[in-house]
């Protein structure tokens, strides 16, 4: 006996599909309240399996694990795990990412996009660091360590100013980042409407042109790519 309209729909769809893979469907329907799978391939993950992998965090705080850490604790962890690449103050060594500074630079010739100058949400820092850091040693620190590190990165950016500040799963979502309002949705369909045309111009479209810039003058192309050169890998 089909118990709900949803079940009926699922059953009818499955039958209409004529799929031979609909094995076991009717027994599922008899025995359980849930609609039957169409293919019955794979299995349900256990709650423990989901818990182990379900590490994403949203701006509203959904997904934040229970834990806490202070700026001071984060400073020590940062020196041990992060400063080699990011610099002790988040200034970035070489081409490794700059984490702090750059405030007010987004309209400058060379914008410096950091956690403080650019990132819209504190949750993003936690989500990213917990997913991918320390580089080459990802997902190895404790939850409290990740809170501490994020607290220190926020401190480097003056988002929090007290060395004793404790970041935790209760207060992270309430932290406002300076550039949260700095983003707009993709508006190309309207702001670039002029790029949609009926027929493109074919003749005398612009005045005669001159060369204004040359890649050879900048000369940063890898040597082995130049014509006739061989890297000699065989």
């Amino acid at each position: 006996m089909l118990k709900s309209p949803e079940l009926v729909v699922a059953f009818v769809l499955a039958c209409l599909s004529g799929s031979a893979a609909f094995a076991g469907g009717s027994t599922e329907l008899k025995g359980e309240a849930k609609p039957a799978p169409h293919y019955d391939i794979g299995r349900a993950p256990t709650p423990e399996e989901i818990r182990g992998w379900d590490i994403d965090v949203r701006p509203d705080g959904q997904g934040l694990p229970v834990g806490k850490g202070t700026v001071a604790q984060g400073e020590k962890l940062f020196m041990d795990n992060c400063a080699t690449c990011h610099g002790e103050f988040g200034e970035g060594n070489g081409r490794w990412p700059v984490l702090a500074g750059g405030k007010g630079s987004l309209t400058a010739d060379n914008p410096v996009k950091t956690v403080g100058s650019y990132w819209p949400y504190a949750s993003t820092v936690f989500d990213y660091v917990r997913h991918a850091m320390p580089f080459g040693n990802a997902e190895t620190l404790s939850v409290d360590d990740y809170y501490s590190l994020v607290a220190y990165v926020l401190y480097l950016n003056d988002v929090v100013t007290d060395q004793n500040f404790e970041l935790n799963n209760k207060n992270l979502a309430s932290i406002k980042m300076p550039n949260e309002a700095g983003f707009i949705m993709d508006d190309r369909a309207t702001s670039e409407k002029a790029f949609w045309q009926k027929d493109p111009c074919m003749k005398d479209c612009i005045a005669p042109v001159k060369i204004t810039g040359r890649a050879t003058a900048v000369d940063v192309t890898p040597e082995d790519a130049k014509e006739g050169k061989s890297r000699g890998v065989e």
Binding site: Y39, I50, T107, T216
Partner: protein, 428 residues
């Protein structure tokens, strides 16, 4: 670019100029006999019988997995070392100037990793689908392969392709200016099939898609696209995905920026809002001149590039009949037309599309002409089926400025010099 890099590259440039002069001298001296002009060993050329005719070749199965001729050893992916801090978080580029047709060979598809290439034993790989679904699911590769299959040919372009060219001509070769694109036939399971299997709840509007590599790349994907044409792929061009392309399974998001095509796909979580992950906030957002940044700019705009001639593929035959070859693509759908200019965009001539013209796939175009040996300013301009016409770089900068990094689909100019050499230039 750092000062150090600049100094380094300048000394390389001096060497390369010497190299070129030597090569040019060699060319001039060889204008004697026909065989010598074409190069090679006259003993293997008519009227003589070549050595490979006079002796047996290698038997079958000596190369159980075939590879290109040893004479093609320069057809390789290349990287630009000064671009990134490490090769584990970097990019290598497709040698577009060496390829024809629309399919990119598996070993030449550009690479972009954020935490190196995960080398995964498929026996231990799992795909978990959970969140706002009726029936959470965990699948092995073998189980994924039991679902109905689809085959689709699509281009995949990194949103940062041509990103080094926003401020002017910088890299001298289409491998570097445009090589973060490839086109592959994928085999896999429609994401829609899997989502129907797990039963997305009515408030399920977004997917978090996540990789199993050392960066565990995560991105938000709207449900409309997920139900439209996305694929969980496990084959490319008929064989298993290459590790650097996400073996054993990756997401295919046709027409959308490559960063969403999560490799080594381990998890799909259904939610009711986007996650605002690092790769969709601090990266892959397009900074405008007013300091605001566009986000969720998923679609790759209509674009084209001439692959031959180009800086790495100069005209060597002198004046005469010349085949100009190139690629066009659009994240909006099919390429409708491509035009070619020889004078830097003043006058245009329709190019000939040849081979399949597919939805959100690379499309090959040709323009054959009789080169008179005079310098040229070559450009190509694509229009897609929605009417979008690839803009000039000036038109693009007018709206997007210079600091966008991503989504540079402006018209490329190659300067062909009288000696057949080609360079990347900007014109105005």
């Amino acid at each position: 670019m750092s000062k150090d890099n600049k100094i380094q590259s300048t000394s390389i440039a001096r060497q390369s100029r010497r190299g070129f002069l030597a090569a040019a001298g060699g060319l001039a001296a060889s204008a004697l006999a026909p065989a010598a002009r074409a190069g090679g060993n006259p003993a293997n050329q008519p009227p003589n019988v070549p050595e490979w005719t006079r002796s047996l070749g290698e038997g079958v199965a000596v190369r159980p997995y075939g590879k290109p001729s040893k004479f093609e050893k320069d057809v390789i992916r290349r990287d630009v070392e000064w671009l990134t801090a490490s090769r584990e978080s970097s990019v290598s580029f497709t040698p577009l100037h060496e390829l024809e047709g629309i399919i990119t060979p598996n070993g030449l598809c550009f690479e972009r990793h954020h935490g190196g290439m995960a080398d995964i034993d498929p026996a231990d790989h799992r795909l978990m689908i959970h969140g706002l679904v009726e029936r959470p699911l965990i699948l092995t590769l073998d189980e994924l392969k039991r679902y109905p299959r689809v085959n689709r040919i699509h281009f995949m372009e990194c949103a940062a392709n041509s990103g080094m060219e926003w401020r002017g001509a910088q890299l001298n070769g289409c491998q570097f200016t445009h090589g973060m694109v490839h086109c592959v036939q994928y085999t896999g399971v429609s994401l829609r099939t899997l989502l129907e299997e797990v039963g997305v709840k009515s408030n399920g509007k977004w997917l978090l898609v996540e990789g199993a590599d050392s960066a565990a790349m995560d991105r938000s994907l709207p449900i409309e696209k997920a139900l439209d044409d996305c694929i969980v792929a496990y084959k490319m061009n008929g064989e298993a995905l290459y590790p650097e392309q996400g073996y054993p399974m990756r997401l295919v998001v046709p027409g959308w920026q490559g960063n969403l095509w999560v490799k080594w796909l381990r998890r799909i979580k259904v939610g009711d809002q986007p996650w605002q992950t690092r790769e969709e906030t601090s990266k892959y957002t397009d900074l405008l001149p007013n300091g605001k940044a566009r986000r969720f700019t998923w679609v790759m705009d209509t674009k084209s590039v001439i692959t031959n001639p180009s800086p790495q593929a100069p005209i060597k035959h002198g004046k005469g009949f010349t085949v100009l070859s190139g690629l066009a693509w659009s994240g909006n759908g099919k390429v409708k037309r491509v035009d070619v200019s020889l004078d830097g965009g003043r006058n245009w001539w329709p190019a000939r599309l040849d081979g399949p013209v597919l939805d959100k796939a690379l499309t090959r175009f040709y323009y054959e002409f009789d080169w008179n040996g005079q310098p040229l300013l070559l450009q190509s301009r694509a229009q897609d089926e929605t009417g979008y016409v690839q803009p000039s770089k000036a038109e693009l900068r007018k709206v997007r400025g210079y600091n966008s990094i991503y989504h540079n689909n402006g018209i490329q100019t190659w300067h062909v010099q009288a000696n057949g050499e080609v360079e990347n230039v900007e014109v105005a």
